[in-house]
């Protein structure tokens, strides 16, 4: 059976009918190719757009919200932070090294396109636990290192999650953060007809053609994906680095009126986006696009996803000055088109118009899937509380599990120090950067706990937001904004679509409850192979302002005699915890939804305690529960005071391994305990004294109703390294 031309470009019969109706004629093959690419799930967000409106932040809370290349929030008057998370899941399965590498390059240029200098990367990775997962992880890490290290943007944080559902659908989500002076505000909108469109960077080849529409907008049929390898792009961090320098130099001329990265669907998407945001049209002459191979058709030029290319809009009289700034770095700059007032994307070849489609039709004409009529909330929850007698070995088993143990083996492969801003790097709750430009710093984190969302996506997504915000405040920072990367299976599957809606609702409700705006994000559907979908996974990136960046609050205490306070309280529910998974019986159960009002109060108490200078060390409760929190604090403590004695109310296990969000341990000087507890009482937040730090390196002692348990430092250190 042969496919129709519209099926070849990925359109459904209904979409094709809508296209013909809107166009008033039959599109030619080039036009069909352009529409097919831009109406792909990856470019059009046709299945998610309507639902994503739930995330819209309250007016006045962000500088730039959903819809641009990256979100922007104000850091201090005159300086702004641009940030976004983006997925490169499908390419990273087909070709893990290049797939991950180009994911890094792409998100860096999205931040650059906001006029921001990229200063940090974080990544959220998810892999299976079988042979494929083990094969993919080191290659993905190498790819990220290959690109990120060379391009000179430090990888300051991240996370790795595991679950069998990611075996043939790894998730590679990368977040980039940049800063800009408010005077350098710019975006994709090419508003001035007559401006020239300047293509800067790499030459255009046949790589990555159909990447967006064929690769990222479909599920994989079965094993492998070998036939799709040519649709993976190839990255060149050397040119990527030069392109950053060149574009920053071009922006410094003050003569650039719009910037856009050539990402998915290449020049087609980039030109359409510039015209859409500017309310203009663009005429692009494919004959003027520098090529790296001969004989490319106009469609190939328009849809190539060759990396390291950006478009700039510049007034005709300024072209020479801007091009010279770019060429200083050995980067090509070529006028390939012009901004028009036609409202159309016109493609020229051989001196004639060979395709012409209204911009609005390209970018917003695709029929979209409506949001669910009812906004999901948390599901009915049954706590999972195991009752067998507690064995202290359970603690070491959880600590040594890949979900909890040290990631040093991964993050030491990344340059986390280049640009010399990194105060707290990978392994910290939040990365903290000191900035030369302003007296405040940045705190950054990314969290994507898929297992919390496996059974109740709403609950897990809300917890993910709480977790990300907690990571900021325990480091002493104040939350400024969130970005989310939503990863799901096929939206055509009603269960997957419902899970997607649950994630969005959970993120939206938690963000609102905590008062942190969502500035945008990314949706990756079709993460399924052979009919098996991933756990619905929200990757939450969070950005905070740090008032004392060279003195962040860290997990490791440095003195004996500090009092450990637990802000928030566990519920003894081990559903979907690292403990549950480390138990190894294949069970998971659901994570319960957080009490968002309580979470907001806990966040407030910790933020205030940090601001008041009461907190000597802090760490939130996350993967592996309080046990892992205390173990990590102990292992990060100064040698000589690696001793802690903790007294728990009730039996040990439920208190130690509950991962309920909105709990943290603060180490406080005895004189400040009353002040913290008073602040907590005023907020209606539990704030129990857990114990004290001691002298010597005696390890961790826990006294509970069911016994007294001791874990020596060596045993904890060994488990944390993963060798038991």
């Amino acid at each position: 059976m042969t496919m129709t031309p519209y099926e070849v470009v990925g359109l459904t019969p209904a979409e094709y009918a809508a296209l013909v109706a809107a166009l008033g004629r039959t599109p030619n093959l080039l036009e069909l190719g352009l529409v097919g690419a831009l109406w792909s799930e990856h470019c059009s967000y046709k299945s998610s757009k309507a639902t994503l409106t739930w995330l819209k932040p309250p007016p006045g809370t962000v500088v730039q919200g959903l819809g641009e290349n990256a979100g922007v929030v104000e850091l201090v008057p005159g300086w702004e932070v641009a940030f976004k998370v983006e997925s490169h899941n499908h390419p990273s399965y087909v070709e893990p090294f290049q797939g991950a590498a180009t994911g890094v390059g792409g998100i860096i240029r999205d931040v650059l396109a906001m006029g921001a200098e990229p200063i940090a990367l974080l990544d959220s990775l998810h892999f299976g636990t079988g042979a494929e997962g083990r094969r993919l992880l080191p290659r993905v890490v190498e790819g990220i290192a290959f690109y990120g290290n060379a391009v000179g943007v430090p990888t300051v944080g991240g996370e790795v999650g595991y679950g069998p559902e990611y075996e043939t659908n790894p998730l590679v989500n990368v977040m980039c953060v940049g800063i800009r002076p408010a005077s350098r505000r710019i975006g994709a909108g090419a508003r001035r007809p007559g401006d020239r469109v300047l293509l800067v960077g790499a030459r255009t080849g046949r790589d990555g053609i159909g990447g967006a529409s064929l690769l990222a907008s479909r599920a994989f049929a079965g094993e492998g994906g070998d036939d799709l390898r040519p649709s993976v792009q190839v990255g060149d961090p050397f040119l990527g680095k030069l392109l950053i320098e060149a574009v920053l130099a071009a922006l410094a001329t003050g003569k650039v009126t719009a910037v856009q990265d050539c990402g998915a669907a290449g020049l087609t998407s980039a030109t359409a986006e510039m015209a859409r945001q500017g309310g203009t049209g663009i005429r692009l002459d494919v004959d003027r696009v520098p090529r790296r191979e001969a004989g490319m058709t106009p469609e190939e030029v328009m849809l190539s996803e060759s990396q390291e290319r950006m478009l700039l809009a510049v007034a005709p009289e300024d072209v020479e000055a801007v091009a010279a700034a770019v060429r200083r770095y050995g980067v090509e700059a070529t006028v390939v088109g012009e901004v028009t007032d036609s409202g159309n994307l016109e493609v020229m070849a051989g001196g004639a118009v060979v395709g012409q489609v209204p911009v609005a039709l390209l970018t917003d004409g695709c029929p979209t899937r409506p949001a669910p009529a009812r906004r999901p909330g948390p599901m009915a929850h049954r706590p999972w509380v195991p009752t067998a007698p507690f064995d202290p070995e359970e603690g070491l088993r959880v600590l040594a599990h890949p979900l909890s143990r040290s990631r040093a083996d991964i993050y030491t492969q990344y340059d986390y120090m280049v640009q010399t801003r990194t105060v707290a790097g990978p392994g910290a709750d939040a990365a903290v950067l000191a900035l030369r430009e302003v007296p405040v710093g940045l705190a950054l984190t990314v969290d994507g706990p898929g297992r919390w969302c496996a059974r109740d996506p709403y609950a897990g997504a809300a917890r993910a937001v709480v977790e990300a915000v907690m990571n900021l405040v325990v480091s002493g920072a104040e939350p400024l904004g969130l970005t989310d990367g939503i990863n799901c299976g096929s939206p055509d599957d009603p269960a997957v679509f419902a899970a997607f809606a649950g994630l969005v609702a959970g993120v939206a409700d938690a963000a609102r409850a905590l008062g942190v705006p969502v500035t945008g994000g990314n949706v990756s559907f079709y993460n399924q192979t052979g009919g098996r979908a991933i756990w619905p996974t929200p990757v939450i990136g969070a950005v905070g302002r740090h008032p004392r960046p060279t003195r962040p609050i860290r997990p490791g205490w440095t003195e004996a005699g500090l009092v450990l306070l637990r802000v928030g309280a566990p519920e003894g529910d081990l559903g979907a915890t690292a403990w549950r998974i480390a138990a190894g019986d294949g069970g998971l159960d659901a994570a319960r939804a957080p009490d968002l009002a309580r979470a907001a109060a806990v966040v407030g108490v910790i933020r205030d305690a940090g601001r008041a200078g009461w907190v000597r060390a802090a760490h939130d409760v996350a993967d592996g529960g309080l046990f892992v929190t205390l173990a990590e604090m102990l292992l990060a403590a100064r040698p000589g005071v690696r001793s802690v004695a903790v007294r728990l109310a009730g039996p040990a296990r439920p208190a130690l391994f509950d991962e309920g969000p909105a709990q943290a341990v603060l180490a406080v000087a005895p004189a400040d305990v009353a002040a913290v507890q008073e602040r907590a009482r005023a907020a209606g937040v539990p704030c129990a004294v857990l114990g004290q730090t001691g002298t010597g390196d005696d390890g961790m002692t826990v006294e509970a109703d069911d016994g007294r348990f001791l874990w020596p430092v060596d045993a904890l250190a060994r488990a944390y390294r993963g060798d038991r």
Partner: protein, 229 residues
């Protein structure tokens, strides 16, 4: 004193070095590799990064950059030249320093904080032999190698400058992060005016970096010291 920090295409520590020197009160001038002018310059730094994307071999292409004839003349006239990380690789490729830098034994990029012991103090770097500095490394090709006869010469003439060591200054193969011969982290030319090292002193300029030993390092390099210890 004015120091020229030369940026090659793909260098990515160039501005970090400029900031580090400026924080010591040194006048540091950023120079793009095609626009190098060493008139009135008292020292040259070749910074770290991935010049020319590490294509061919690390440092191999930058060693033929338009900047290098001027750097060679400067070095030949006794001017202090410091190569950090990729800059060290470039100096080796350019023949301004003996030996070569190969792939780490782990075959991986490694970013971590290490200790180095000062083995000898060449003319341009007046550190105290035996002192220990805590400095970060970040490289994939940092495994220093020189053939046995060259190595013997380096030792004889005090050209082995830095060795990876433990916190107490013991030079132990177990703390060698890349498998370099004799734990070597940095070397000098015979005259002592050209020095290359893999660690990044510009990443150790305050306690909040994890170490402030880079201040001491730059202060002792070519009298660039300014106000530092």
């Amino acid at each position: 004193m004015t120091v020229a920090v030369i940026a090659f295409p793909g260098s990515n520590c160039d501005r970090d070095v400029v900031y580090a020197l400026q924080s010591l009160g040194v006048e540091a001038r950023w120079m793009w590799h095609t626009e190098v002018d060493l008139e009135g310059v008292g020292g040259v730094v070749l910074p770290g990064g991935f010049s020319y994307g590490d294509y061919l071999r690390s440092g191999a292409l930058a060693a033929h950059s338009p900047a290098m004839p001027a750097v060679r003349r400067f070095a030949r006239d006794g001017g202090p030249v410091l190569g950090i990380c990729n800059g060290f690789q470039i100096l080796c490729e350019a023949g301004l320093l003996p030996g070569t830098l190969g792939l780490n034994v782990s075959r991986r990029f490694q970013c971590s904080v290490e200790h180095v012991r000062v083995a000898a103090a060449p003319a341009s770097l007046r550190l105290e032999p035996g002192e220990v500095l805590t400095l970060p490394i970040a490289h994939r090709e940092g495994r220093y190698y020189a053939p046995p006869d060259v190595l013997a010469e380096l030792w004889r003439h005090g050209q082995v400058v830095l060795q990876y060591a433990d916190a107490g200054g013991q030079v132990d193969p177990a703390v060698n992060p890349n498998g370099s011969v004799d734990n070597i982290a940095g070397v000098a030319n015979r005259a002592g005016n050209v020095v290359g090292l893999m660690p990044h002193p510009e990443r150790a300029m305050a306690e909040w970096f994890g170490s402030a030993d880079g201040r001491r390092f730059f202060a002792r390099w070519a009298g660039a010291g300014g106000t530092a210890a």
